[in-house]
Amino acid sequence: MRFSFYLFLAVLSSIIVLFILLPIVATLSTQFYDFDGLLEALGDKAVWNSILLTYYAAMLSTLIAVVFGTPLAYLLARYGFPGKSIIEGITDVPVVIPHTVAGITLLAVFGSNGLIGSFSPVKFVDALPGIVVAMLFVSIPIYINAAREGFSSIDIRLEQVARTLGASPSRVFFTISLPLVARHIAAGAIMSWARAISEFGAIIVIAYYPMVAPTLIYERYVSTGLSAARPVAVILILLSLAVFVVLRLLLWGQKR
């Protein structure tokens, strides 16, 4: 019985892993037959510029998510207050909004005549800040949920003990709670960074230029075709995979 259960787990798990893996392997292996195309893309400055821009913008978006999302996550994990479930619902809204619509709504706020864009000295449309807000909008739920899970998982008695010993709430937060959830925060940050990198639909509405990697891939596909778009996609996949593995290993090492 035990064996059949393990078999059950193994078969179903492998199906879902294959489902994820097959399209990626197919893309990579097709590219292998067009190795020259890959080399050409590797030597293309525009490709690297767009990938670096993507990583950089995603990093900024993640930093903002950590700074503003962590207190909210703590609030949601620790306190009950009227309207809490509404706030929880609001933080999840970006997940269900279609990306193009997200882009259009962001344009209404951050566009030159938008609520914020009309007086903001920072220009959002077709500029880096526009990319960052688009990325932040779609990736923030992932971070907040991960951090909230973290805060929920720590033993509340540790905080209470610190309080009885005379530590102020802020001291408890910064010296007890925060260090305990560091791993959750890091894991959440990595996931939201990754989600930001993959964003396309919202970004092209608010900032077609400067071109992030997903826009460049789409652009190459539309203007030249699949053969020009695929190498860029392959580079982005491999590089992101490498960054991911390294970050995960670092996290894993910390756990030990």
Partner: protein, 352 residues
């Protein structure tokens, strides 16, 4: 042991199957159709240029009324991307319609299609809204002076991706010739990007850089991949003016100025003038200025050729031409490229 696990899987698979069946059943119930009708429902897939979105919606409605057993599914994209869905992504479409009929012979002949029906024309206009700067001043004479003003922002789609984009460039260059003012294109576009026309043997050629190198000054120009994406820009007041097909401007209730027919690519009469401008796209393909004519075809791989033919029949029929006209897209007397390959049923509609 193993028997058990097999049995478990059978149970599991049956459950899963049951679930899917259940979902399908509930769908049938909600749409109020009998099983027989559901299995007979034919899906006709139409891939079309973004600027045909409104006419296609109208054709879909008219066609589904005529053939209730058919569901027309429309998918909009830039014309080149539309064709690539069939030629490169290997997707099946029953109809492909492009905003530039020449793309079909160029990109689809001979493997993916082998005839093209030309069914409508269009013209490039300069569209705006009441909120646009100098909206009360602009007219067909002074439009390029208004665009020159430093506080005016305007947009066009990416010439590499979208026929409307390279056509806008042609219009601006033709304006230089028509108004006898050789700085129009420079002031409006060249100064604010890496796009530049050069004269070679009396032909004005724009060699497009790669899209990532267009480098537009985004405080003056807004560029988007597809013309339809500029609509967000004009409606939120991000830009004041944009170059667009007349039909699209009319369908979105934007105000627009008609440009002189010598430059707006609308009229076969001025084809010789349009020929003086050329855009070489980043992928190496050259396009010479010519009147805007829409093309439609049935790809070789179409699954429902019979219904696809009926759909095209509707478009080229009197009713279809009336729909086009109402939506600001003047129809043309349908003509055809590679008439020998045209399905018999369509031959009576097109001029020989």
């Amino acid at each position: 042991m193993q028997k058990r696990s097999v049995a478990m899987f059978v149970v599991f698979a049956t459950l899963l199957g049951g679930c899917i069946q259940g979902i399908q059943d509930s769908k049938k119930i909600t749409s109020g159709q009998t099983e027989a009708e559901v299995t007979e429902k034919i899906v006709l897939k139409v891939f079309h240029a973004g600027s045909l979105t409104e006419p296609m919606k109208a054709f879909k409605k008219a066609f589904e009324e005529k053939c209730p057993n058919v569901e027309v599914q429309c998918e909009a994209a830039g014309s080149a991307a539309t064709i690539r869905k069939v030629t490169e992504l290997g997707r099946t479409a029953d109809i492909v319609a492009s905003a530039d009929y020449t793309l079909i012979p160029k990109m689809m002949y001979p493997d993916y299609a082998n005839w093209t029906v030309m069914f409508a024309k269009n013209q490039i206009v300069l569209a705006y809204t009441d909120k646009s700067k100098y909206a009360n001043e602009i007219n067909s004479e002074n439009w390029y002076q208004i665009l020159r003003r430093p506080d005016v922002k305007f947009g066009f789609s990416n010439p590499n991706d979208d026929p409307c984009g390279y056509r806008s460039q042609m219009v601006l260059q033709l304006a230089e010739l028509y108004y006898n003012d050789s700085t129009i294109y420079d002031d409006l576009v060249a100064k604010h990007s890496n796009l530049k026309f050069v004269e070679e043997n009396g032909i004005y050629i724009l060699r497009m850089p790669k899209s990532e190198d267009i480098n537009p000054d985004t405080s003056k120009l807004m560029i988007r991949s597809m013309e339809m994406e500029l609509i967000h820009g004009i409606e939120t007041g991000e830009i004041d003016y944009y170059f667009i097909y007349r039909s699209v401007a009319q369908q979105h209730n934007h105000r627009f100025i008609e440009l002189p027919p010598q430059i707006d690519l609308s009229s076969a009469e001025y084809a010789d003038i349009y020929k003086k401008v050329k855009v070489v796209l980043a992928n190496g393909k050259g396009v010479v200025g010519k009147p805007i004519i829409y093309g439609i075809t049935i790809p070789e791989s179409a699954e429902h050729k019979e219904y696809a033919e009926k759909f095209i029949e509707l478009i080229v029929s009197k009713e279809g031409q009336r729909i086009l006209k109402e939506l600001g897209q003047p129809p043309v007397v349908p003509s055809v490229d590679n008439v020998d390959n045209l399905p018999e049923d369509l031959k009576e509609y097109v001029k020989p």
